[in-house]
Structures are given as structure tokens and as C-alpha cells.
């Protein structure tokens, strides 16, 4: 039986993606806690396994073994559907990421659109979680999640569109191929403003600190996942890390040349750039305090959206000028 059977390759691809997302979640939890510790000059997890490497496994076991509690007078369907809806788009979003051309489960020429549209489902799941919980903190978290995502998707899409204009394609493989091996040939260095806008919107889009207002543990207990116990919370958590990875992968492919590198181009360059961005996002969380909600919306509507619009306009003009010359 050949591996070319569409069904078999789809199943294998799906299994590989889910395994990667799960393993990645576990490793990133460890990295997050280690970075948090070192940023605050303490050691981080230490006792379970060498260098505390098995700590996330122990945590996962604890989460799995916990009782799943449904709050009284909550909407059972929305309440338990929300974590599933949060994780469901993850495999789809991993499909177009350019790990290896031969390993692509499905080759898509609109990969970027697919990722950005399905990532939007996450905010709907947060909204459902908040609505279904019958808890005022959860509801406030849900409202914040919607307002935040609706706002920040605009600069995110505009910044991504800038790179798409420069490459002339929505397929991440082709955007990658349009960039050269050296850093000054990457779109992020030709157009640093777009990279910056994309990164800031990405942090806001994945609800990470300093934009973690839907969770905001010091204001809203735990925001939209206040009522979730055990794996209900665990799935939200896993999905959050998967989205960080996806959005950092998109940034690496769009702006940092993806698999292009000065020596030995290949998927390791993509992985290295992706995880470097993940590390930056994690370090940002332990560096900056949370913004206030009005500051967040001001930042989006009064600064980033106009900047993204001007940037895309300037990019178009420069491209026209270069074409004419």
C-alpha cells in the first residue's frame, strides 16, 4: 500500500499534527515556567525529572485525574463545547505551515487565509465558554476576548497582507520562496514595521500577556476559564500554546524567510525561527505588565490600524515604483 493514498496520508498527517501539538504544549509549559523562573532569578521547576522536565507531565496527569465539574445553571452544551471548539481548529491551522514540502498533508494555495480565518474560531470558543459558565467573571472575560480579537485582527491581517503583496502569493511555501537566504532579503527586514505590527497583533490575538485581558487573573479570577476544572481548562491551555506556535510559525514564514537561511536551508531554519519567536513571546509575558482595556483598544485603533494602513499603502507605492523603474 502506497503512502500516496489521500486518506492514509490525511490520517497520518492528522496523527502527526496532534502528536506535535500535544508534545509542543508539554514542552512549552516547561519552557514557559523555566523562563519565568530565570527572568525572576529563581530556578523554576526543578524536582520532577532532570531539570524538572517531567513537571508538565505530572501537571497533565493531575489535570486528567481531576473531577469535571459543571457549574449549576450553566449551559451544558456551550460549557463543554467551548474547550473542544477551542482546540478543533488547531489541526487545520497546522496544515499549511511550511515544515517540509514533502510532509505537507494537504497543499493549499490559500494557506494564510485558512490559518487566519480558523484562528478566529478561538475567540468564539472563549465567548461560548464565558456565556455558558453562568459566572460574571467568565462573561466579562468573554466580552473582553471578543472586543480584543475583533480589534486586533485588523492590524494582523493588514500586516500579513503586506508580506503577501510583496510575495504575490497566499501560499506560505511560495511566500518563503520569494525571500532570499540572507537576513536583508527577508520581508521582515525590508519592511520592519509590518513585522512589528504582526508580532504585537499576534500576542494580542493569542491572548498572551501583556494583552491577557480575557484571563486577567488579578481582575477576573481566571476570566473565561474561571469555572473550568481538570481537562476543560487543560484543553484551553493546550490550544493556547498551539496557537502561539502557529502564529509564530506564520510570522517566521512571512517575515523571517522560513526555511531560507545563509547555510544549509531547510526546515530546521523554519523551526529555529519559529521557536525563537515563541521564546520572545514568552519573555515578553514575564517582562511587561498587563495593559488596561482602554489602553489596549487605543493601541489598536489609534496606533496600529492607521500604521498598518499607511504601511500597506507605502508598500504598494514602493512596489509600483520598483515595477515602473
Amino acid at each position: 500500500m502506497s503512502l500516496d493514498t489521500p486518506l492514509l496520508s490525511l490520517l497520518l498527517g492528522l496523527a502527526a499534527i496532534l502528536a506535535f501539538a500535544g508534545a509542543n504544549g508539554i514542552v512549552l509549559v516547561w519552557v514557559e515556567r523555566k523562563v519565568a523562573g530565570r527572568c525572576q532569578r529563581r530556578p523554576g521547576p526543578l524536582h520532577v525529572g532532570p531539570y524538572g522536565l517531567l513537571q508538565p507531565l505530572a501537571d497533565a496527569l493531575k489535570l486528567i485525574s481531576k473531577q469535571l465539574i459543571t457549574p449549576r445553571r450553566s449551559d451544558r452544551l456551550l460549557y463543554w463545547g467551548a474547550p473542544l471548539l477551542s482546540f478543533m481548529p488547531v489541526p487545520i491551522c497546522f496544515l499549511p505551515l511550511p515544515f517540509l514540502p514533502e510532509m505537507a498533508t494537504v497543499r493549499l494555495n490559500l494557506g494564510l487565509i485558512l490559518i487566519l480565518s480558523f484562528i478566529g474560531l478561538n475567540s468564539i470558543s472563549l465567548c461560548l465558554a464565558g456565556l455558558g459558565s453562568n459566572n460574571k467573571w467568565s462573561l466579562l472575560g468573554a466580552a473582553r476576548a471578543i472586543a480584543q480579537t475583533v480589534s486586533f485582527e485588523i492590524p494582523l491581517l493588514l500586516a500579513a497582507l503586506t508580506a503577501v503583496f510583496m510575495a504575490g502569493s497566499m501560499d506560505l511555501h511560495e511566500v518563503m520562496a520569494a525571500q532570499g537566504p540572507w537576513p536583508w532579503q527577508w520581508f521582515g527586514f525590508m519592511n520592519p514595521l509590518a513585522l512589528l505590527l504582526f508580532l504585537i497583533s499576534a500576542v494580542a490575538e493569542t491572548n498572551r500577556a501583556p494583552f491577557d485581558l480575557p484571563e486577567a487573573e488579578s481582575e477576573l479570577t481566571a476570566g473565561f476559564h474561571t469555572e473550568y476544572s481538570g481537562m476543560g481548562f487543560g484543553i484551553f491551555f493546550l490550544a493556547e500554546y498551539a496557537y502561539i506556535l502557529i502564529i509564530c510559525g506564520v510570522a517566521a514564514a512571512l517575515f523571517l524567510g522560513g526555511q531560507q537561511g545563509p547555510v544549509a536551508p531547510g526546515p530546521w531554519w523554519f523551526l529555529a525561527k519559529m521557536y525563537a519567536l515563541v521564546l520572545l513571546v514568552i519573555q515578553l509575558r514575564w517582562t511587561l505588565p498587563r495593559v488596561r482595556f482602554d489602553q489596549l483598544l487605543n493601541l489598536c485603533w489609534r496606533w496600529m490600524t492607521p500604521a498598518a494602513l499607511l504601511n500597506i499603502l507605502a508598500t504598494m507605492l514602493v512596489m509600483l515604483a520598483l515595477k515602473g523603474a
Binding site: V35, R38, C39, Q40, R41, R42, P43, L46, L196, Q283, L284, W286, T287, L288, W303, A307
Partner: protein
């Protein structure tokens, strides 16, 4: 427009500065101590349960004159002092003045205690009732009480927190004596072990 650019530049710069601070912290020495593997060294500031202070002449014998003022002062009633007559050779002609707690509301009632006349037979602290207010330490006329640095003190049994501080002082004095002996022996060993190195130097 220009103002907006400088503002954005300032914001980005502050983010970069913050990332620099946390980035440097990653490679700096850690400021916490993992307790069972290591212990903090600044226990001098620690205020644990009270302990008796040894007298200048004999560190194993408390300075306490058994006036009982700490018992009076203690709001929790966790100190019990049993007195006995001190050995005759310790007796002096000096007195110290102790004030009764009565003095706070009524005219102070003083009583003078002769140093060396009496001594505590047992000095019992019920640490499980103590709130570490320090009234006993503050009001001891003989300066015979202080806070200990006994930080790692735990037990499953409440009875273990009833301490005979006099016994504890004797044990501490014995430990200090042995440590001092060991130190002197080590010094003597070093002095005899490397006479050349020591002799080669001149001290002026």
C-alpha cells in the same frame, strides 16, 4: 505626526529595555535558595522563639534572676518559671530593679532582686501558645532573654513545642564548647603542620 513617531519610539524603547533586564536576569545568579538542598545564611535577622542568655562567667548558666517578670508580662501565659535558691558562691550584693506589670495602670510597683540569690530551676516556654510579641525580651530586667535563630523547627506533636529553655541553654553551651575545642585543635594542627610557611613571613 512627528510627535506620534517619537511616542512610538519611546514605547518600543521601553519594551527593549525591559526585555534587556529580564534577559540579563536569566544569566544572573539566582537569588533564591532551594531549602532542603541549601539554607539561607542571613538567619541573624530571624526572630524565632525566645531563648535564655548565658551569664558572662558560665555560658551554661542563665543570666536569669528568676524575678518572674516575664511570666507577668506574657499576654499568652506561655512562660513558666520555677525558682530555686542559687548556689551560695554565686551570691552578690548587687540588686536589679524589676517592675511589675501593675505599673502600667497603677503607680508602678517595684521590687528589687538580688543578683545570684535565686535562679530558675526550670524555665518552660509553651511555644505553641506564644505569639512572639517580645514583651518578655523587652521587659527582662536582667537581659536574660533574646529571640533565637531557631528557624527550622517543626514537629507533628504539640508536646514538642513545650521547651525547657534552661536545658536548651546547657545544650547550646556544650555545643559551643565542643565547636571551640575543634577549632582550636584545627588551628594547632595547622600551626604544627606548616611551620615553614608561617615562619617564612614576617609580621610588622
Amino acid at each position: 505626526m512627528f510627535g506620534a513617531i517619537t511616542k512610538a519610539y519611546g514605547a518600543l524603547k521601553s519594551i527593549a529595555v525591559g526585555l534587556g533586564i529580564t534577559g540579563r536576569a536569566v544569566f544572573q545568579e539566582q537569588s533564591t535558595v532551594i531549602y532542603p538542598m541549601a539554607e539561607v545564611k542571613n538567619l541573624g535577622h530571624y526572630r524565632g522563639h525566645i531563648e535564655l542568655v548565658g551569664s558572662d562567667a558560665d555560658p551554661a548558666r542563665p543570666r536569669c534572676v528568676a524575678c518572674g517578670q516575664c511570666m507577668d508580662m506574657c499576654p499568652s501565659g506561655c512562660i513558666t518559671v520555677e525558682t530555686a535558691m542559687a548556689p551560695a558562691e554565686l551570691k552578690t550584693n548587687a540588686f536589679i530593679r524589676a517592675e511589675s506589670i501593675m505599673g502600667q495602670l497603677t503607680p508602678a510597683a517595684h521590687f528589687d532582686v538580688m543578683i545570684g540569690e535565686r535562679e530558675p530551676k526550670r524555665f518552660v516556654l509553651d511555644y505553641s501558645a506564644c505569639s512572639l510579641c517580645g514583651q518578655c525580651v523587652r521587659n527582662c530586667p536582667a537581659g536574660a532573654l533574646r529571640f533565637s535563630t531557631h528557624a527550622y523547627f517543626l514537629s507533628r506533636d504539640r508536646a514538642d513545642f513545650v521547651l525547657d529553655l534552661k536545658e536548651r541553654l546547657a545544650g547550646q553551651a556544650e555545643q559551643a564548647r565542643q565547636a571551640e575545642q575543634a577549632r582550636q585543635a584545627e588551628q594547632a594542627r595547622q600551626a604544627s603542620g606548616s611551620p615553614q610557611a608561617e615562619g617564612g613571613r614576617t609580621h610588622e
